[in-house]
């Protein structure tokens, strides 16, 4: 295939994604420097107000007053995204190792079972936890039935339930990349280590983990990025009261009608996520060398 035809074939994909996804990202950056229109959208003049809003609020005299509430939401989102990533790593690594140890036929079935949740609607997967965790839900019902509690425990609408929802949503993203790097493991390495009297712990630390690390790194980015911008877990399991960046951004385009602030927040999220991905691919290239 000649170069001309090659570029003709790749052009539609690049144009569609370039125009309808990358261009809007830049447009959002432009919007973040505009003034909010109370009816939605933006108007002139250009300002830094949206970014000032991260730390300050305007009082009645138009003066700036320090107000960290948005900064705290951003920090809480980052903290929850990191916690999600760590929990997924701890939960996912043994599962990936287990799958690697199976026969090819069983591997295929298990991999399908890990992948399937990814294709199931996140909205529905998150909603399932409302059924379990709410006051009249399954967990409280079972505890009451067993006579352990008399009043329902507040299992829903807190950081714990948000974290649970995030881990539930993104755990497959951690298992699959770790699996795909461990799959290439050379069994002779482990047998040799064992012959040299290495304990299971030593085999894990010296052989399995170094091999799993690039996959864990890939999995960490795949979990961290969507967890940082997640909307459904904080909205449904956090009750919309405990805001994270994702729900805060969404609010700016619906009830709050502050498009520049929403655009500024989304620009920050994009920059953070793209930076994480660039660092990861740099690191992956280094390790390959």
């Amino acid at each position: 295939m000649g170069p001309n035809r090659t570029y003709l074939l790749i052009a539609p994909a690049m144009l569609v994604i370039g125009i309808f996804m990358v261009l809007p990202l830049f447009l959002a950056v432009a919007y973040s420097f505009m003034t909010a229109n109370p009816y939605g959208g933006v108007t002139a003049p250009a300002t830094f107000d949206a970014y000032l809003q991260f730390l300050y609020q305007r009082d009645f005299d138009d003066g700036l007053v320090f107000s960290p509430s948005y900064a705290l939401i951003i920090l809480r989102s980052i903290y929850l995204a990191i916690a999600t990533t760590a929990i997924c790593l701890v939960l996912g690594l043994p599962v990936a190792w287990y799958i690697v140890c199976q026969t090819p036929e069983r591997r295929r079935i298990l991999l399908f079972a890990v992948t399937l949740p990814f294709w199931i609607n996140t909205l529905i997967r998150t909603y399932c936890w409302i059924l379990i965790l709410r006051d009249e839900g399954l967990a409280n019902g079972a505890l009451r039935h067993a006579g352990i509690i008399s009043d329902p425990l507040p299992l829903l609408y807190n950081d714990g339930s948000i974290l649970l929802g995030l881990v539930y949503t993104f755990l497959p993203f951690m298992v699959l990349p770790i699996y795909s790097t461990l799959e290439r493991i050379d069994p002779r390495l482990i047998e040799a280590a064992h012959d040299l009297y290495a304990s299971r712990a030593a085999v894990f630390r010296r052989i399995v983990w170094p091999l799993a690390r690039p996959g864990a790194l890939a999995g960490a980015t795949l979990v961290f990025a969507p967890a940082l911008g997640s909307f459904l877990a904080p909205d449904l399991l956090g009750g919309g009261k405990k805001l994270l960046i994702g729900s805060l951004i969404q609010m700016q385009f619906t009830s709050s009608r502050n498009w520049p602030f929403g655009a500024a927040l989304s620009t920050v999220v994009t920059v953070v996520v793209l930076t994480v991905f660039v660092i990861r691919s740099r690191k992956a290239q280094e390790e390959r060398r």
Partner: protein
């Protein structure tokens, strides 16, 4: 080593029980949803016998039917458009000579997978409103086509890589021109992967919630957006029933994609 059993690194004590627990974690919540959907009591958590009545109620709900119709129309258009674009793109990446811009093209195509959904949702909203495009369904079809492209592309690209170029070279040796080569050799070999990619694109489009919610307007509500509205009002048996239907549709389609993609594997 003094143990009677020979050392087996493939067996770690307790690991199978642990993995079983993780799979319970994955699937038990979904199973609970399905069970509740068949509960005849309006009080969701009190079991009052098996019943299909909530599914009947859902099927007779006109708003749900309209939303489902919108979802299917959008998914069909997005599937056809994204699969065509992805097939061409995969051919260029795997068979073409991209002297420069290969990594740029790969990065660009991966963008919909990398950028968080909420960002895609609001930037697309800004884009359409900035252009003054308020076309409801058409806006949604465009937005869905964009994020379906990488999902359709991945299986096609993997298949092209797996099958190598030997059969195409043989065709070229027999003086087939590029078009005939594509029609007679590449396309038939690629068809299972294209079908698998199309099914994946369809599922991803059908299931999309966040982007649809931000981009849709009054007349163009999709099914997940409508279900979300129902969920906001509280836990009801109708929500459980419609969620179960959507769950079943996803599982059936993904299983189909897997089976179709596996066929012809060694051709």
């Amino acid at each position: 080593m003094t143990g009677a059993k020979p050392f087996d690194w493939r067996h770690t004590p307790g690991l199978s029980a642990y993995t079983a627990l993780i799979f319970v974690f994955f699937y038990a919540p979904l199973l609970i949803l399905v069970i509740y959907a068949f509960n005849s009591s309006r009080l969701v958590t009190v079991w009052a016998g098996f019943s299909f009545k909530w599914f009947v109620a859902v099927a007779n709900n006109n708003s749900i039917r309209d939303a489902a119709f919108n979802s299917v129309i959008i998914a069909i258009v997005a599937t056809i458009a994204s699969t065509a674009i992805a097939t061409a793109g995969a051919l260029a990446l795997e068979r073409g000579r991209l002297r420069f811009g290969r990594s740029a093209a790969t990065a660009l195509i991966a963008m919909p997978l990398v950028v968080p959904e909420i960002v895609v949702a609001i930037t697309t909203l800004i884009f359409f409103s900035g252009l003054g495009m308020h076309h409801g369904l058409i806006n949604l079809m465009i937005a869905h086509t964009v994020f379906c492209i990488p999902f359709a592309l991945l299986p096609i690209q993997a298949r092209l890589r797996d099958m190598g170029g030997t059969l195409e070279e043989a065709g070229r040796d027999l003086y087939a021109d590029e078009w005939r080569l594509f029609r007679r050799v590449t396309l038939p070999l690629l068809l299972p992967a294209i079908s698998a990619g199309a099914i994946m694109a369809f599922v991803v489009s059908l299931d999309d919630f966040l982007i649809s919610m931000m981009v849709s307007s009054a007349g163009s509500t999709t099914l997940p957006v409508y279900i979300y509205g129902m969920m906001r009002l509280g836990v009801t048996p109708e929500v459980n029933a419609i969620s179960t239907i959507l769950l079943a549709v996803s599982i059936v389609f993904v299983a189909a994609a897997l089976l179709v993609g596996r066929r012809n594997r060694f051709a």
